[in-house]
């Protein structure tokens, strides 16, 4: 091994995302399906069409984000009176009741996490498309961070599930889910897929010399 840092792609190798085995690409034609010789998983030097797919998922998530916040996620009936709550009005109720901890928790999970995930992914896509060489290590960390926090935005969907299942006392109290929950759930699932289709190796490809970069064009 030479001491200069080399990427798997530059050396004509691919690391398997499942079993970790590093194997040789061979002279497979472009677009051929490559499989890990040890565990038979589909392997790609870079995730196929990562930028286009991630952009598409982000746009879809943004489109769902509006109805997710405008439509009610819960309809609660207590003694004949029905209230409809959106995500934000639910948070406002917690604040009114003095439940600051819950207000902060739900606000973080339902507003801060999905929005920061969308902004960070969009920023990373733009930075890759512009070939930015600026602080790749921190951009990789940023990606890992949104990947880890992403699933926590499912919190409100789970709260709705529990409330709907639990508060079923015929004439006294009844909670039903609203259409906002469907869109919010879609936002979470779409941003999860967006993080899965983004390939952080692209952040590093831009930092390498042009010569190396040309060899991993595909």
């Amino acid at each position: 091994m030479n001491s200069a840092p080399t990427t798997a792609a530059a050396a004509g190798l691919i690391g398997c995302p499942v079993c970790g085995l590093v194997s040789r690409l061979g002279n497979a034609p472009r677009g051929a399906v490559l499989r890990c010789p040890r565990c038979n998983t589909h392997v790609h030097s870079r995730k196929p069409n990562s930028l286009g797919r991630t952009w598409a998922l982000i746009v879809a998530a943004v489109l769902c984000y509006f109805p997710a916040n405008m439509l009610p996620i819960l309809h609660s009936t207590t003694l004949g009176r029905t209230d409809a709550d959106t995500i934000l009005s639910g948070i406002a109720h917690f604040i009114e009741a003095g439940d600051w901890l819950l207000a902060v928790l739900i606000f973080t999970a339902s507003v801060v996490v999905p929005l920061s995930k969308l902004f960070v992914l969009a920023y990373l896509l733009v930075s890759v498309q512009r070939g930015t060489r600026w602080r790749p290590r921190d951009r990789t960390r940023l990606f890992r961070f949104v990947e880890i926090i992403g699933p926590w935005s499912m919190l409100d969907v789970f709260v709705v599930t529990v409330l709907v299942a639990l508060v079923k006392i015929e004439s006294l109290a009844n909670i039903e889910p609203g259409a906002g929950a469907v869109f919010f759930c879609a936002v979470v699932v779409l941003t999860m897929f967006a993080a899965l289709t983004f390939d952080s190796r692209l952040i590093w490809d831009a930092t390498e010399s042009n010569h190396v970069r040309r060899t991993h064009a595909h």
Partner: protein
């Protein structure tokens, strides 16, 4: 394979030569600091034991009520599958499917996959289709959200405690145990070590 074992960083693709590590040590990528691999104490026995315990916790968590409320003498209780059922009844099929997959199916698939691969290995054999099962395990992993569901239970508990008498059910305690055991099973599981052992089997 006689060549030195190489490791490609999954986050930045940099190649490294694999070195033997002391137990408990972590190897990180030179360039982007992502964890490359760890040296686990018992990569088969420990995750197998935790997965087996997690299976029992899972069965209890899914059979007993998680929370129960009482309001003016009338009561109601919620189980995990009951919540999904209620969402289906209300016509929210996509939400019901997502909750079912992330809170019910994914943890069971993870436990099942670990038991399926590790139990034969512990007995000195290798499971059929272990490769396919481990691939499913990797695909499902980001979608398993038991710990987030647990937080959802606690939020619901606090929210309702102001309005009604609410009690924690046996299912909730089992669910908490399930999360701890699943994390323990996963963090002791080592894909690379398991693959080496699978390859060494006849």
């Amino acid at each position: 394979m006689s060549k030195p074992a190489l490791v490609a960083c999954h986050a930045c693709d940099l190649l490294h030569v694999r070195r033997a590590l002391p137990v408990g040590a972590v190897a990180r990528c030179r360039r982007c600091d992502t964890v490359l691999y760890r040296q686990r104490r018992e990569p088969v026995t420990l995750p197998l034991a935790f997965a087996l315990a997690a299976l029992f916790a899972y069965l209890i968590a899914n059979s007993y009520p998680l929370l129960a409320i009482t309001l003016q003498g009338q009561s109601s209780q919620a189980t995990l599958i009951g919540g999904v059922h209620q969402l289906l009844d209300e016509g929210l099929h996509p939400v019901a499917a997502t909750v079912f997959f992330t809170a019910i199916a994914a943890p069971l698939i993870q436990i099942g996959a670990l038991l399926y691969v590790l139990l034969p290995l512990w007995l000195g054999r290798s499971a059929r289709h272990a490769a396919a099962v481990l691939r499913v395990f990797s695909i499902v992993r980001p979608w398993a959200m038991a710990e987030i569901f647990m937080l959802g239970l606690l939020v619901s508990f606090v929210k309702l405690s102001a309005l009604a008498d609410i009690a924690l059910g046996i299912g909730l305690w089992a669910f908490a145990a399930l999360i701890g055991l699943l994390v323990a099973a996963e963090s002791n599981f080592d894909h690379e070590a398991v693959w080496e052992q699978l390859e060494a089997q006849p």
